[in-house]
Symmetry: C2
Subunit: 207 residues, 2 copies
Amino acid sequence: MSTMTLFHSPASPFVRKVRVLLHETGQQERVALQEVQTSPVAPSPELLAGNPAGKIPALRLADGSVLHDSRVILDYLDSQHVGEPLIPAAGHARWRRLTLASLADAMLDAAVLLRYEQALRPADKRWDEWSAAQLEKIEHSLAYFEREALAEIDSRFDIAAIGLACALGYLDLRQPQLAWRERYPGLAAWFAEVERRPSMLASAPSR
Amino acid sequence: MSTMTLFHSPASPFVRKVRVLLHETGQQERVALQEVQTSPVAPSPELLAGNPAGKIPALRLADGSVLHDSRVILDYLDSQHVGEPLIPAAGHARWRRLTLASLADAMLDAAVLLRYEQALRPADKRWDEWSAAQLEKIEHSLAYFEREALAEIDSRFDIAAIGLACALGYLDLRQPQLAWRERYPGLAAWFAEVERRPSMLASAPSR
């Protein structure tokens, strides 16, 4: 029986991280999904209760309290299963994997800001330098994952790998013209494998 | 002797959180500050080594590895002292305090985006609806802290309180016209006290 409610929107890559972790740790049944219509310039009123910044995802617990944002929710849910944690508890591994996850989040932040610039902001108010700067962050981050972190990422499907997988999936959804696979064949091969995981298939956004 | 290097810029509220935690936990001497000139549309090359998204703050450890972003650095540094942790280790307190810290971060994200819109983006490309949406997030968050979380925040100067204090300090620096104290007297009284803490004084941005 579901005792928690996850406020989500289907295309949100930050929500997807949570859904993937739920699946990987066998906790899907514990969480009911509730879709909310929201936009960065028009937040949903139902979302704002206990969540005044209108964050998606937000997780309402059985006692009515609300957790956000995605990192806090991931930390919470990872503490609620008996398997090996997807966030290492301590030591070098913890901060290295969290830094890689933070890099994936930074790539997502840039990709989301780019999407707002291209699809939400009126055409005459778009600023090319801003879009170029977001694209550069994405490109630098992809290059780092390909050249410096591929073996690490490939070693375990944990918090860092989930973050990267959801970031690559979001680039495919919103920035397909980037054609990142051409420049990053190692990431392409890795993603071809992980996107077939049940957790990734079950959380894939519809195109 | 300093064994770590914190890449910082003096006005960054995300850096300030780290500096406050270092001070509160007696670790200032362990970290050398290195200022970097950076901008969201012109990242600094020295910053990008091991930190491809150009995040500020970034923390270089003695072994040369680099941690980012501010949340990961706070988590790391909080594990490196012998006092009571400023991030509760487990239980309800952990996720509640992290959610409040995340709300303070959301307020900061909105305030930083607002600043970019007002001061960085060319005047003819500014979008009033975007600025209004950021202001609304800040306002909702302030109202929540005042009405729902003031006693909690006041109970301990930990990760949640540090986040809020740095967010309020940043509003004073960049959005003084908001005059938030007029609408949130409880927060004003709390902040008047905490901004006199040595950790807050030592990390205050110059106006």
